[in-house]
Amino acid sequence: MRLHVILRNMGFVLLLNSVFLMIAGIISIVNHETSAFPLFYSSLVALLFGLFPLVFAPPVKDISNKEGLTIVVSSWLISCLIGMLPYILWGGPFTITNAWFESVSGYTTTGSSILSDIEILPRGLLFWRSLTHWIGGMGIVIFVLAILPYMGIAGMVLYRSEVSHHTQEKLRFRTRKAAQILLSIYIGLTLVQTLLMMLGGMGILDALAHSFATIATGGFSTKNASIAYFNSVYIEIVTIVFMILSGIHFGLLYTSVKSGIGNLFRSSIVRVYLGLMLVGTVLVAGQLVEHLDLVWPTAFRQAAFQITSIGTSTGFATADSNFWPPLAKVIIIFFTLQCACAGSTSGGIKVERIILFGKTIGKKMKEILHPHAIINVKIDEKVIDPSVLEMGVLYVSVYLLFVFVSTLLLTAMNVDPMSAFSGSAACMGNVGPGFGIVGSVANFGPLPAAGKWVLSFIMLFGRLEIFGLVIFLSPDTWKSWR
């Protein structure tokens, strides 16, 4: 592996971060805020580390798979480090641990926060916080791939490292075209939602910040009460619609825009995704009516928002689900683990893997009953390769193992089991809120510092689809340096 190649490609990512930091800094200057210097200074640091490798190291067109993976993972890590600088420099509640946690939560689009009072932050810093979602949502590398046309084979290697197998399957375009399609959908959805939010009475900064958080399925709000602050059915409906759209494969959205909305529903994955959310909403609403004496419209409104928010790994809140009945909580935990579709900005195990997992179990059971039968697993009439099935089962198992280990570690730090488990599941799935002390209207501030570090690393594992980071950290990867 060649360090200068890795540093050069990371340089592009840092330059991108530098530009966005500068934009947030300008907002701070316009509002005469104390976060202006932290943002500009952080931008300068990113510029130094971004520009210098580009100046020194010449462009390289051939990148190995290991180098590609290292670039992607390192880009994530360095972005999180740069992202924490404005918080540390601003001070307030941001210790090093808290700044790291908030930055990782932003870039991995988790949306868990250590802040008990979000509204004390200057607007520039709030904007930066939301921007980290937006940058992270699309994968920093996709941005760069879409912008730099000359990366060639190098670009393809980076693309394969960044984008999951399921997404690559669906997008039958050349790498650069695929990246540009994903980016155009991403930016398009953000702009449309921003406009609609402004029509609902939100200011431009709030509208942008909430749109960033929605399309990236992140969940950072500019208000302590999250979306509930606005107390607007219109805003909730817009947010629900865009959360649902952000949970669908972007390539599928693109083809639906071109060939009609019916295309969306031809995908069994989308049908399962929407169907499960509808069933979940109805069940939860029923529980709220039965146990909390809510009327059906209110119960349905709260249930629809929370289930969509959790089911797409966004994490916005309009109600405190800590007080919901046990069955409702279990349903929410299911969605925390599953989340939405591959090829979206959502986290979690993903609908496809859950379906594959279920079908693999079904296949095995049939094979036990009919040992000589050849049974294929199909999705949308397409036979799924056994290696893909194996990978899906392995992923689900490892995913749950990570959640379990994290729960154990947090419980060992005297965190109550419900908070430990739900917080671990929420961070691993990049969802955001859990239950207990890390509930939908609470925050992760009260957790011990070591617990925050554990959760921040499982956020990264979740965002990088586990194996990306595992391979990066493996001794074999580091042995190949030259």
Binding site: L48, V55, F56, I88, L89
Partner: protein
């Protein structure tokens, strides 16, 4: 880009970073120093004035008791002195209003003290028939306690303000020192990366060229130098290859 500009770019950016961090730290430390002075001048002065008033009130209270216990000369003198001391403290507090609510607090002290003063003035003018210990406990001491409470409220308000400013100064100190800390860490990492680039893109090509020339001198054949940088070193490698080819041609001609 030439070697000179490559190296200069890195140093220029790092210098800019260090300069900005330095200027910002100096600005914030100056601001911090000013804030400390402000807290001492403003809030602590009000606290000091409150302590003076409380001391004066205690003396007045004991003076009243002395007077009631027939030690009229000492009591009278003490009351007069303590009254001057209280009014001195009150004027100090009035001249040092730094918070919006301080005005109201001082007015409250003024009013309750006027009532208290009226009472002990009555005592001084009175022959003592209805100014006995019952009068002291039911009226004088009660008004004394009210005045004391008003003064304590002023003191607590200034204490809280001092605490708030202390927290703010802690944040300011953090904001002053953090850019410096970040600059140091950045400089350390930058120097590591810079050293790597200098080794890989300058020292290594130079070593390749040196080895190449030595091989040429020993064997008469120049190996491929593989120096592809678009700077002076790349040009030097090309020049060496041209020189060696021309030398070979000259040797062949001979």
């Amino acid at each position: 880009m030439s070697l000179r500009w490559k190296i200069l770019t890195g140093f220029l950016l790092l210098s800019l970073l260090l300069a900005v961090a330095g200027i910002w730290s100096i600005y914030h430390f100056n601001f911090l120093g000013g804030s400390v002075q402000k807290v001492m001048d403003e809030n602590y002065r009000s606290v000091d004035a409150s302590i003076t008033m409380l001391e004066a009130l205690e003396r007045e209270d004991s003076a009243i008791l002395l007077y009631l216990l027939k030690n009229k000369d000492v009591g009278h003198r003490q009351l007069t002195t303590a009254d001057s001391l209280f009014r001195y403290g009150l004027n100090q507090a009035r001249a040092n209003i730094t918070m919006p609510e301080e005005n109201d607090l001082i007015s409250a002290i003024d009013q309750t003290y006027l009532q208290f003063r009226k009472l002990f003035s009555t005592l001084l003018e009175n022959t003592g028939e209805d100014t006995d210990l019952d009068w002291y406990f039911n009226e004088a001491h009660r008004t004394f306690q009210d005045t004391k409470l008003a003064v304590r409220t002023l003191m607590q308000a200034n204490d809280s303000e001092m605490y708030r400013q202390g927290v703010q100064m802690k944040d300011e100190a953090n904001r002053a020192s953090m850019p410096g800390v970040v600059a140091i860490i950045v400089a350390l990492f930058f120097s590591l990366i810079f050293s790597y680039f200098v080794h890989y893109f300058m020292i290594r090509p130079m070593l390749k060229m040196i080895n190449g020339i030595e091989t040429y001198l020993k064997t008469g054949s120049l190996p491929k130098l593989n120096v592809n940088t678009q700077d002076e070193l790349g040009k030097l490698a090309i020049s060496i290859q041209i020189l060696c080819s021309k030398t070979d041609l000259h040797r062949d001609d001979q």
